[in-house]
């Protein structure tokens, strides 16, 4: 134990020497957007927020400077904001919220993690809609905060002298799709597991902010199929990114097809609909039966062409989530970061290499009998969960007595 402790302390002492490497966690790697939206806050000032639920992702934006692995820290946020009249630009802000201790699954209006003042869109001369892909680099004054459910989003102002959508700002999002929908807009039919998600599977809500002050409670639009909203919002942090990915045969959501892209080598979607809730046994009885394949994608731009491995299990670590260098002292290199949150005692391990961009995608092709077993184990509102966690070896740091390993967070697919 003393050895463990001393190794951990040594890592803490020199941890600050490790180079910082900001990565997209990966939530928007496999995506089609559907609409631009204010999530129902059409003509009020509000923060439109995306829920990052610990049911789905754990330990995914850990602060590498925290030796206990119990705090989150985000460095930047990326999204797409649209202004209905380009030459009358509106203002917006950025916000992050913790979970309301008195109202689980809702953001806490009383003590936001951070909330910025208003910032401007760039100049435009057009009188028609304009859209901007925006990355906001947050200041160091946004401190690490205890991990758990988080909400991130954009504070939207209201236009002067008119109403949205005649003018005003909104944010781009993917929508899920009802089974009877005939719309031609890209939209994603989620698998049955989404029924067990909080708020009816609605991942987006709005927090009223009259005068720039969050008042709460947040409002979730109804979580009906066809009304669920996933904001196109990426988090950037000093972590190895890792997200669940699902390959489907949907023509209405082409990003989910197994067609590789520059950021997702084998294709598929990483959204919160099919990405987290695959349909592996055609639960929705689609005209073209679904038999989704499932997997996980790791991204670590500090580790191109490096060995990586993926653990797949059926639950969390039985001893709780602990820093990697505590559970496995051989990884106690100063640059090691991340927790072990997966059930490593039963996990199956896959090996691979990251590509030149530091990306490693591992898909699991399920046999027909495996799909039948999953179907027999899945109950209404109680899906069969698969846990993933990726690890990347950064050999660029040399091969001393300890290894530099970057652990992703844990992602959970609900089958």
């Amino acid at each position: 134990m003393k050895t463990l402790l001393s190794l951990s302390l040594a890592a803490v002492c020199v941890g600050s020497l490790a180079a910082q490497s900001n990565n997209d966690v990966g939530f928007t790697r496999g995506w089609n957007t559907s609409y631009t939206t204010r999530a129902g806050a059409n003509n009020i000032e509000a923060d439109v927020l995306l829920h990052f639920d610990s049911r789905d992702y754990q330990d995914f934006i850990l602060d590498p400077a925290d030796p206990t692995g119990s705090n989150y820290l985000v460095k930047a946020i990326r999204f797409v904001i649209q202004d209905q009249i380009g030459n009358t630009p509106e203002m917006y802000s950025i916000a992050g919220y913790h979970e309301d201790p008195l109202n689980p699954e809702f953001p806490d209006a009383a003590a936001p993690w951070f909330r910025t003042g208003l910032v401007s869109l760039p100049a435009s001369t057009v009188t028609t809609p304009v859209a901007w892909n925006v990355t906001v680099t947050l200041p160091a004054t946004v401190m690490a905060a205890p991990k758990g459910d988080k909400w991130f989003g954009i504070g939207l102002s209201v236009p002067t002298g008119t109403t949205w959508p005649t003018d005003g700002v909104s944010v781009h999002a993917a929508y899920d799709r009802s089974l009877t929908s005939t719309v031609t807009v890209n939209s994603d039919v989620a698998g049955p597991g989404i029924a067990s998600a909080a708020n009816g599977g609605q991942y987006t809500c709005y927090m009223p902010t009259p005068g720039g002050v969050p008042t709460g409670p947040a409002t979730y639009p109804a979580g009906n199929p066809g009304s669920r909203i996933h904001l196109n919002l990426e988090l950037i942090a000093d972590v190895a990114g890792g997200v669940c990915v699902t390959q489907t045969n949907q023509t209405t959501y082409p990003a989910s097809n197994p067609v590789g892209t520059t950021t997702l080598p084998l294709g598929g979607t990483t959204n919160f609909f099919s990405g987290l809730h695959p349909d592996v046994y055609d639960a929705n009885l689609q005209p073209t039966p679904r038999a989704d394949d499932i997997g996980f994608v790791v991204s670590d731009n500090s580790s191109p062409i490096m060995p990586a491995f993926l653990m797949v299990a059926f639950g969390p670590s039985p001893i709780g989530s602990l820093p990697l260098n505590v559970i496995a002292p051989s990884t106690a290199h100063p640059g090691t970061k991340g927790n072990v949150c997966i059930d490593f005692t039963t996990a199956v391990t896959f090996f691979g290499l990251t590509d030149a961009a530091g990306v490693y995608q591992q898909m699991l092709t399920l046999s027909p009998s495996a799909r039948q077993i999953i179907q027999s184990l899945s109950l209404p509102n109680q899906p069969f969960d698969i846990w993933y966690q990726g690890f990347v070896l950064n050999l660029a740091s040399g091969t001393g007595p300890t290894l530099e390993v970057h652990a992703t967070g844990c992602g959970v697919q609900h089958l």
């Binding site: 957007t33 631009t36 859209a131 039963t346 090996f351 290894l403």
Partner: protein, 168 residues
Amino acid sequence: MTRSSSLLPGVVLLAAGVAAWLWWPRGDAPRLDDPAAPAPVAAHVPEAPAPAVGAVAPSQPVVERPAAPTAKVGVMKFPDGSKVAALNGVTADVDLVWNDRPYSPIKEKIVDRGWEWYVHEDGSHSTVRMVEVNGVLAPIGLVASPTETLPVLDELDEQLRQQLPQRR
């Protein structure tokens, strides 16, 4: 599927993987320690008054020529390793996280409604500015790149209602 009973086999495999890696013939791996030479640095412009809240009237951005830095300005660092003078009176150094597209060099500097921006060759705009965060002024970095617009769901619903009067 094969299962392991503890982390130990994984660590053993890991060590084997490392050994294999060291003997694995391969080409030159990309290096991350080769930043491009710093670009010319732009001038500091005194901070302009804060913009009004909400919509504002159309404006004509003022184009300014980048020039040599003064001693008191902060630095904006871009992903290609280039550095320029910070804008909007920011005195801190800010490493801008770029958008999910290749970095594009600076073309010019403009001032729009009191906000100084660098305009890049691909139409992206970048800036830093002191903005209140939890009530305290702090330097925020912004990169905005033009992208395609999307329809508004409410407008499409209305169109559908007009086409199909029986639809409620």
